[in-house]
Point group: C2
Chain length 248, copies 2
């Protein structure tokens, strides 16, 4: 696979969905964003091959058979499984919209399949009205994360706008059989390494959880961990802590 | 310390410089960005205390003694060292400007003090003319990273626009006594964990190093590592790999 470059993020896999198929399950026709990416960024032409994946399905290769002004047709064959999913649940205090977008794509690229966006005291109320929370906007970021990481399995994203209700009524069951970690500056212990059991990782908002929230998380079985003396931005903390936690 | 919130990133420390001092070394007067942050985001008033640091110096506390329409005066006392620096050199293929900004702040927040921005085949030439590379623009991102992490020591950033010259003439000396790791999808081994010796970590551009560059890095003593089967964006990879590498 060759890469072109036009100052844009390179997609490492083109994700295909059922609606893209034209002749049974062997050929697809794609337009729009993926068409422009392949022709303008990757500069791939008829006859070239590229990496594709089927949404929630296998990885494969596609050979471009036809190009028009606004569509590409490709013959597809499937040849392998996507990378293994991470058996971790990620809980994040809803960040401001541009951060949310980047974090959703980043967490998806690292293999997390269950994401909860929760409210906390220091989450700005208006964030809950953001367009970045619309189903289609969230899905777009998940797809970007999958395309980046050469994965196909869409994460599930759940919105939980009531902290107390979520933490008291749902969180204990979610944590069953999992190592539960909440990241907070000045935590009781450093983030553990290379955890070989299922986990739940919770990260607070800029400014942190408030003491009441920390005590509620502890009641739900969470250990309070940190990334050392340094306080990291949400986007940095997510990848830093997952890099430390994930095994391998 | 209390935090306000106005949808902006919270500064965890106000960084002070020699030019801010008014009465010997006990009082400062600040304006502009820091003034606005303290009054509008943190909503701190006369009499309140906040965390400060002296550029390349100690941490401390400051109590606000006077506020006018465009300036704050504070009495300062020093009370501790900044967090220990990471003994790692970070080498990054120059990314597009918005990514560069975020990565500089993030790497600084994680404690790296020596950053080399290098050219590679897949770095877009125009990136070298970006305003994000001007000294003042770089310094601004470094300060944001320090304020985020409650650190005071400004990293050194060096631009190396000639790959071959840098890798052949300078890199071997830089790597002396250090574990040298270059991250590349499909690397020979996974990124090591919790490295307890000085290191050099090199990360390529979106699209990766080309084979010639990989072989040059190997000649300079680098091991080629990866973050698993998943290909991560530069911003994610930096924090993910540092989370894995850093000890503690």
């Amino acid at each position: 696979m060759t890469y072109g470059w036009a100052g844009e993020v390179v997609i490492n896999l083109i994700l295909l969905f059922e609606k893209d198929f034209i002749n049974g399950n062997k050929s697809v026709r794609i337009r729009g964003r993926r068409y422009r990416h392949i022709t303008e960024v990757q500069r791939i032409a008829v006859g070239d091959e590229l990496t594709v994946g089927l949404g929630n399905g296998p990885l494969g290769k596609a050979r471009i058979t036809h190009r028009s002004d606004d569509a590409l047709e490709m013959d597809v064959h499937w040849e392998g499984d996507p990378p293994p999913a991470v058996d971790g649940i990620f809980i994040l205090a809803l960040p401001r919209p541009p951060v949310l977008k980047r974090v959703l794509a980043a967490v998806t690229s690292m293999g997390i399949k269950r994401i909860y966006l929760i409210n906390t005291q220091r989450v700005e109320k208006s964030f809950w009205n953001s367009r970045a929370l619309k189903e289609e906007a969230i899905r777009q970021q998940l797809i970007l994360g999958l395309e980046q990481a050469r994965d196909t399995v869409l994460p599930q994203v759940v919105l939980k706008p009531y902290f107390k209700k979520f933490v008291q009524d749902e969180l204990p069951a979610l944590c069953q059989g999992r190592r539960a970690l909440a990241a907070h500056p000045g935590g009781d212990q450093p983030c553990p390494r290379s955890v070989d059991q299922p986990f739940v990782l919770a990260i607070g908002p800029e400014g942190g959880f408030i003491p009441y929230e920390i005590s509620q998380l502890q009641l739900a079985g969470f250990s309070i961990i940190d990334a050392g003396r340094r306080i990291l931005r949400v986007e940095t903390a997510v990848a830093f802590l997952l890099g430390r936690l994930l095994n391998p």
